[in-house]
Every structure is written in C-alpha cells, then in structure tokens.
Symmetry: C2
Subunit: 204 residues, 2 copies
Amino acid sequence: MVNKNKDQSTEEKILAAAKKVFIEKGMAGARMQDIADEAGINKALLHYYFRSKEKLFQVIFKAAAGNLFPRIQSILTSNLPLFDKIEQFTNDYIEIVIENPYLPLFVLNEMNKQRDNFIEKIFGGKPPEMHLLAAQIEKEVKKGTIKKTSPGHLIINMISMCIFPFIGKPMIQIIMQLDELQFRNMMEQRKKLVSTFIIDSIKK
Amino acid sequence: MVNKNKDQSTEEKILAAAKKVFIEKGMAGARMQDIADEAGINKALLHYYFRSKEKLFQVIFKAAAGNLFPRIQSILTSNLPLFDKIEQFTNDYIEIVIENPYLPLFVLNEMNKQRDNFIEKIFGGKPPEMHLLAAQIEKEVKKGTIKKTSPGHLIINMISMCIFPFIGKPMIQIIMQLDELQFRNMMEQRKKLVSTFIIDSIKK
DNA sequence: GTCTATAACTCGATAGAC
DNA sequence: GTCTATCGAGTTATAGAC
C-alpha cells in the first residue's frame, strides 16, 4: 500500500530523499542537510548508513543509470521485425521518461562530469551491443524494404527524439509557449508520432 | 592576431577563464580559485571586476544562452522556402555546436535548476515566435508538397537531432564504441544527414 | 589595478550520549 | 539506531597595503 513514511525503513527514506535532492541539484549542488531534511531525519544518520556523500551518490547514480541504459540494450538485441522494434522502443522509452522526466538530464550531466569508467559502474564491464540491430538494418536495405540508411545515425536519431524533449523542456516551453499540461500532452502524442516519423523517413 | 594572454585585458581573461570553468563544472561545482588559476590572476581580482560568483556566473550564462537561442529564432522567422530552411538550420546549428560542444548541456542544465525568469534574462522579454514557421508548414500541407505534419513536433524533432548527440556524447560513445575522432566524423556527417532524414520523412 | 591576509561562513564528517 | 554538538577543511568575500 501507499505508506509514504510510516512503513518505510530509515534506509528507504534516505534513498528516496537522496534521489530527489541529487536529481534536482546534482552531486555538487546537493547538501547532506537537504537530504536529511527531506528524509525527516538527522544528518549524522546519513553517514551511519552510507559513510559518505560520495558513496550515497554512487548508489543513486547507479540506480538511475540502470533505469535508462538496459532498456536501450534490450531493444538493440531483441528479435522483433525492424518496424515493430522501432515502434516498441519509441513508445516504451518515451513512456519511461514521462514517468521519470528528470532522469536523463541527471544521468547525462554526471556522465559528462565524471571522466572515469562508467562501463564498469553501470554495466559491470559489458556495454550494450548494437551489431544485431545494425545487421538487421543492412538486411532490410538489401531486401529493398528501406532506403540506404546508416544504422548508427538512425539509432542516434531515435534516441535523440525520445530523450531530448525532456532535457530541453524549459527551452521548448519558451519557444512554443506551452504550459505544463500542454507539454505533457505533446509528450503523450510523441509516443505514436516519433515512430511514424522515423518509419516514414526510411521506408521506400 | 592570436595573443592568447598578452594582449587580453584582465576582464577578458577572467571571462574566458570563467566560461571554461563554469561550463566544465557548472555553477555549484565551480570554484572562484579555479577561475583565478585558469585566468592566471588572483582570487580577489574576480570580486573587484564582478562583485560575486553569482554575478559572474550570470554574465557567462547569458552569453552562452545568447549563442544558442537567437539562431533558433532567426530560422523560425526567416523567409526561405521550407526545405531550404530545414537544410540551412540543421547544417548551421550542428556546425555551431561542433565548435561549442559543451554549451547545450551547460545551458539546459542551468535552465532546469533555476526556476525563475529566463525569458527576461535571455531575450529581454520577447521569446522567439514560431507562428511564421507553423504557417509555412500548414501552407505546404495544403499545397500537397508535404504530408500532414505537426509544426511543433517537427521543430522538436529537428532541434533534438541537432543538439542531443552532443549532450548524450558519452552515452553514444559507449553504445557505439566510438573514439573521439569517429564521434567527430559522425557529427560532421550529420550536418547533411539530418536534413535529408527530416525531408524524407515529411515529403510526399 | 593587483596583491596578501584574513574574516565570515558553509559543509562533510566524527565523537559521544542515550 | 538515532540524536546533539562540534571539529576541521574549504569557500566566498572583504580589508588594506602597494
């Protein structure tokens, strides 16, 4: 059931609070005091459970990145026909990001700052493989069902159109004069529109 | 000529250093000491010229945002035919971002953190207008040259495919196993490919 | 204008009582 | 496990000599 505080263990309360504060302010901008306040506990308890700010951050970051990347991996390696794959990916991925709209900026922002080994941290050493999807696209090109298409650019375009609108939300809202509800409605529409746009572009 | 330090006034040295440090580390992560070191001057001089870290940051942020937004505005209001407009925008915008690859993440990141009035700060009260481009698209739809197309989504798609690859660079490099040179080459290719992709998608 | 020195403050982390 | 109190490092900002 929905017990926002009562039935939650202290550790869970800390994790929920840390997620909120880190995503909102980033590693450098977040304060341990903010997290303690948000969790309704004392600052010292944070150190009792997670030793340091850095350690706590890594837990949150791994969880966040683990929500964004495996979905891409699974679509890159699934066995669906190409057009179905595109439809499923755009629909599902936009849905995920609608429910976690601040995740992409948080993860990409920290990835750009930390120069070290994400691959280890996030995937445990094995990054996603795109060769299967690339081969599938080449096959469709040879069959003549789609135009000559660069698999790499196609994947970049697909991911860009799913994720960017949420990162660029304030910019888009200014340019298009959208309030919260209008923006939300546009993102809902995109679940169908993006795959149509992509397929229209590559099919002969 | 290219006098990186000698002929530069102290103020210019500070601005260049501040731009570099703020873009790399963000407002919260940057230290006045870092900026002073980068500029080859003393910490106290920063306050002599710009009073506070916050004030210095605002100068850098305005300049950075002023580099990204007016370009969009100018394409939204220019008088070119639709397809030429799309070609020119994608080509020019990607070129700008290739030369300033960290600008988009910096600007969008800070826009998502500061909840206040950007429109004032960046545009002086008048945000870009997209009605002209929207009308142009509607006109082409009626003429039958392009499919029924949502102007809003088309603009979002266009901006997404130009900007996102630079924000998501580390993610893309992991998924596609690209080194620096390969990534750079892909971005060069995109200057032509993105407009082709868009036009293929909307033309009948 | 530019520097050194330092004040004033913030924040992560720990000690120690309960 | 949880709290209060506090230390010590690091940061912005200023005072004041040159």
